[in-house]
């Protein structure tokens, strides 16, 4: 029989002050920008300076988020580390490629090359934790985090591992951001976070962040929620989103009425938010809905912030006003459905249950 999978510790570095686990969006930073960066913790409190000096921002964020998650789960070590990232250490990639171009393929230094690969993050976390177990990185655009989550869930269900650190991370890179502006993936105008869904323009407000979770077979006092199910689609036509959601619930023996909260990945892109409208107005119109990308920005693993948000709501039973999407109010949050997609591709459905 499959074992249950619990979220026992979380760590989040985002554009909000989320690195303190005893707080829950107490202060909403209402960014006004096209691109939003993370609120940095004091990295020196977590990483020795000698180790930190070669770490790119994504690595630092991930190492700190991992340490916070492990600390909360009461662990010093995990059996495995599974990372999801869309772009990996993109700043070092930019640095390395720029150096190749600018210096005519001469004078190439090792550090940015070593640090430019996607799996550098998982490797650096393992070095910091001295974890010699299974270490895998999934790079699958906006399904990167969910791919990592599926791997972790399968291994825990089958009893192959007992504690797994799983997370999603992406950092902003100057050149990559400039390219996304050129191709209109980033909004042409500065948008106030709280007005994101009223912007009515194409593109998203880009962001960055690292959200890591300790998953385990064992429920404990620190447990946030149980991970019931995860399903990903590379392609899913808009007309089939509602049916896919209902089918996903059915395969977990649930009906629409069983869902107390829907966590949606709306990013204010007038061209693609209509995918969410399929659920907002056609399926879950009587269910409480929240959104979160105005808090963290859009990036390939932004859905890991949604996973963080859902975990916090399930554990605290508190729903911050700044994430409310509709006027329905649930009396309690027991079962939560998350749905995310980016530019009409790489859709994911995730189910979490209160413990």
């Amino acid at each position: 029989m499959n074992r249950n999978v619990y979220i026992n510790g979380i760590g989040s570095i985002s554009a909000q002050k989320t690195f303190e686990n005893n707080e829950f969006l107490n202060e909403f930073v209402d960014h006004e920008a096209q691109v939003i960066s993370v609120v940095n913790p004091n990295y020196k409190d977590y990483i020795p300076p000698a180790a930190a000096r070669r770490m790119a921002s994504g690595i630092k964020m991930s190492v700190v988020a991992s340490k916070i998650a492990l600390q909360e789960a009461g662990l010093e070590q995990v059996d495995a580390i599974i990372t999801g990232t869309g772009m990996g250490c993109v700043r070092d990639s930019e640095k390395f490629v720029s150096a190749i171009i600018d210096d005519d393929e001469q004078y190439l230094t090792p550090t940015s090359f070593i640090q430019s690969t996607h799996n550098t993050v998982g490797g650096q976390i393992a070095l910091e934790l001295q974890c010699k177990g299974y270490n895998f990185t999934y790079v699958h655009a906006s399904n990167s985090f969910e791919s990592a989550l599926i791997d972790a869930k399968l291994q825990l269900e089958l009893g192959e591992e007992h504690t797994i650190l799983v997370g999603g991370v992406d950092e902003l890179g100057e050149h990559t951001t400039a390219l996304h502006k050129i191709i209109n993936h980033i909004k042409p105008e500065i948008v106030k976070a709280s007005q994101l869904l009223q912007s009515k323009t194409e593109g998203a407000v880009f962001g960055e962040g690292a959200n890591f979770f300790v998953l385990s077979n064992e429920k404990q006092p620190s447990t946030y929620a149980e991970v019931l199910s995860v399903k990903i689609y590379n392609t899913l036509p808009k007309a089939e989103v509602a049916q896919a959601a209902i089918q996903f619930l059915k395969s977990n023996n649930l009906e629409v009425e069983d869902i107390d909260l829907v966590v949606l990945g709306n990013n204010g892109d007038v061209k693609f938010d209509s995918f969410y409208d399929e659920l907002i107005s056609k399926v879950f119109n009587n269910t409480q809905q929240v959104y979160y990308k105005h808090l963290c920005g859009e990036f390939n693993t932004a859905s890991s912030f949604g996973f963080w948000l859902a975990s916090k709501i399930l554990k605290t039973q508190i729903l911050p006003d700044c994430v409310k999407l509709n006027h329905v109010n649930s009396s309690a949050f027991k079962t939560v459905l998350l749905y995310n997609q980016y530019r009409g591709e790489n859709h994911s459905f995730t189910l979490l249950k209160q413990c």
Partner: protein, 85 residues
């Protein structure tokens, strides 16, 4: 020579990302490797590339590097003597 030493310190801080250090924190006679700044083999590669790029000096013998990179004083003396740009 003093200007070159200051320039080398600035380049080292920038090249190997010694975030919390300033030029004033590095003494001319401080050991760069081992004790002192505690640089390692990857830093040595960064410094070799820096010498090539900034001063046109190509180091091929690792043993030679060990003596050159001992301190700012030794680096400055070597650069002053061998620089081609």
């Amino acid at each position: 020579m003093e200007a070159l030493k200051q320039e080398l310190k600035k380049n080292i801080i920038e090249q190997i990302n010694l975030e919390d250090m300033t030029v004033e924190d590095i003494a001319n006679e401080d050991l760069l490797f081992g004790g002192g700044l505690g640089l390692d083999s990857i830093d040595a590669l960064e410094l070799i590339v820096m010498l090539d790029k900034n001063y046109g000096i190509r180091l091929t013998d690792p043993k030679e590097g060990r003596a050159i990179f001992e301190s700012i004083n030794t680096m400055a003396a070597y650069v002053a003597e061998h620089r081609t740009k």
